[in-house]
């Protein structure tokens, strides 16, 4: 099943500003909407979890069932009530919860088939497994791979949101033309500003301004995305540094 495409529209927009802390507090106070908000976050970050389960030796089918089963257990408010509000990151919470869940499931002799193929959160397992099989995993722990995949998912989502913003403003061509400029100078060959100016029918100064705005907005969106997954906005920088380290450790072994 394909991911819920509607999630890029109004549905996701409702929770775009929801942070992990808000989700948690909401769930613990049994306020309505917390389950949907958590589901929204899970839909976004399911692949690192799925790949983690595969890395633990499960075949694709079992990994799919386990991932869905895990989400089901997670969406049960009882699990969230047990979380201490001071326990920082959504990423850490998910990984620790998944570890516990897997441990329980294996202890029960893989009694995970209770749900069969019922999907509790719509996830694109087909492309997920194809992606997983294309990635090498030697010399990397499951935890390191998880963190690096999390970082890549976060960056993908940031880019997707930004693209959607530009599309809404009917500036998709500009976005696609200027996207390579999001990287630092010298990281790759870039078209000269003069050439871009001609292409998009703007002055060179205008193009530079657009690049500046694109880069600034990208940073804002990225930080917003990270902020959704930490308990305190003050932890955003720390989380970004941690994700940097995870990517460096992965040495580009993961697909984008």
């Amino acid at each position: 099943m394909k991911p819920d495409d509607s999630s890029v529209g109004d549905g996701a927009g409702r929770f775009r500003t929801t942070q992990w802390s808000a989700v948690l507090l909401s769930a613990q106070s049994q306020a309505p909407g917390s389950r949907a908000a958590l589901s929204d976050l899970c839909k976004l970050y399911w692949y690192p979890l799925y790949a983690f389960v595969r890395r633990r030796g499960c075949n694709a089918e079992d990994a799919q069932d386990l991932t869905q089963g895990f989400f089901l257990s997670l969406l049960d408010r009882k699990a969230l009530r047990q979380v201490t509000p001071l326990k920082g990151k959504f990423r850490s919470f998910l990984l620790a919860s998944l570890r516990n869940y897997l441990s329980d499931q294996f202890d029960r002799g893989h009694s995970l088939k209770r749900g069969g193929n019922i999907e509790f959160v719509p996830l694109d397992f087909e492309s997920g497994d194809e992606r997983y099989r294309s990635e090498p995993h030697e010399a990397l722990t499951a935890e390191k791979i998880f963190d690096a995949r999390w970082a890549m998912t976060l960056l993908d989502e940031t880019l997707r949101r930004l693209e959607q913003e530009y599309a809404t403003q009917r500036k998709l061509t500009i976005f696609k033309t200027l996207k390579p400029f999001l990287g630092p100078a010298g990281s790759q060959k870039l078209l000269p500003y003069e050439e871009i100016a001609e292409k998009v029918d703007l002055s060179v100064g205008g193009v530079k301004t657009l690049v500046h705005r694109l880069r600034k907005r990208y940073t804002e969106v990225l930080r917003e995305e990270v902020a959704r997954t930490v308990m305190d906005p003050k932890e955003v920088d720390e989380e970004i540094h941690a994700l940097c380290e995870a990517l460096i450790a992965a040495q580009g072994r993961l697909g984008s």
């Binding site: 630092p184 990281s187 970004i240 580009g252």
Partner: protein, 127 residues
């Protein structure tokens, strides 16, 4: 992923998937302001050759120097038009900003070995 599916970022040296538009580590660092000086450079990512020359010297862009930069990554070219050469700011590890680098390379003598940056750089401890 095969080796040919990867690229190495010329700025931070981290390999990343070839199908990425840019280095993920660098954009993350930019989001926490680690590359503030680099961002200033990006305002003109494709300077013309004349801008990269003064006198009979050629100034190499940070991307060209980075692989030889032994202590960390280059942050900025801070003195492109200095008569003494080109000055760079660099970083050790993820935190410490260190000395400026002055670098020279003769134009038209591409086969001339470029002096290791260690010879041109103020040692970090003395920065």
């Amino acid at each position: 992923m095969k080796a040919e599916d990867k690229r190495v970022c010329q700025v931070c040296g981290t390999p990343f998937p070839a199908d990425s538009d840019f280095c993920p580590v660098c954009v993350l660092r930019a989001a926490v302001g680690d590359d503030q000086a680099t961002s200033e450079l990006v305002a003109d990512p494709t300077p013309s050759l004349s801008e990269l020359r003064f006198g009979h010297y050629e100034v190499l862009a940070p991307a060209q120097l980075c692989p030889r930069f032994y202590i960390g990554r280059l942050l900025a070219l801070v003195g492109r038009h200095s008569p003494a050469g080109a000055a760079y700011k660099g970083k050790v590890g993820s935190r410490r900003t260190v000395s400026l680098v002055r670098f020279y390379a003769n134009i038209g003598q591409d086969n001339l070995p470029i002096a290791p940056l260690t010879e041109w750089m103020v040692p970090p401890a003395a920065a």
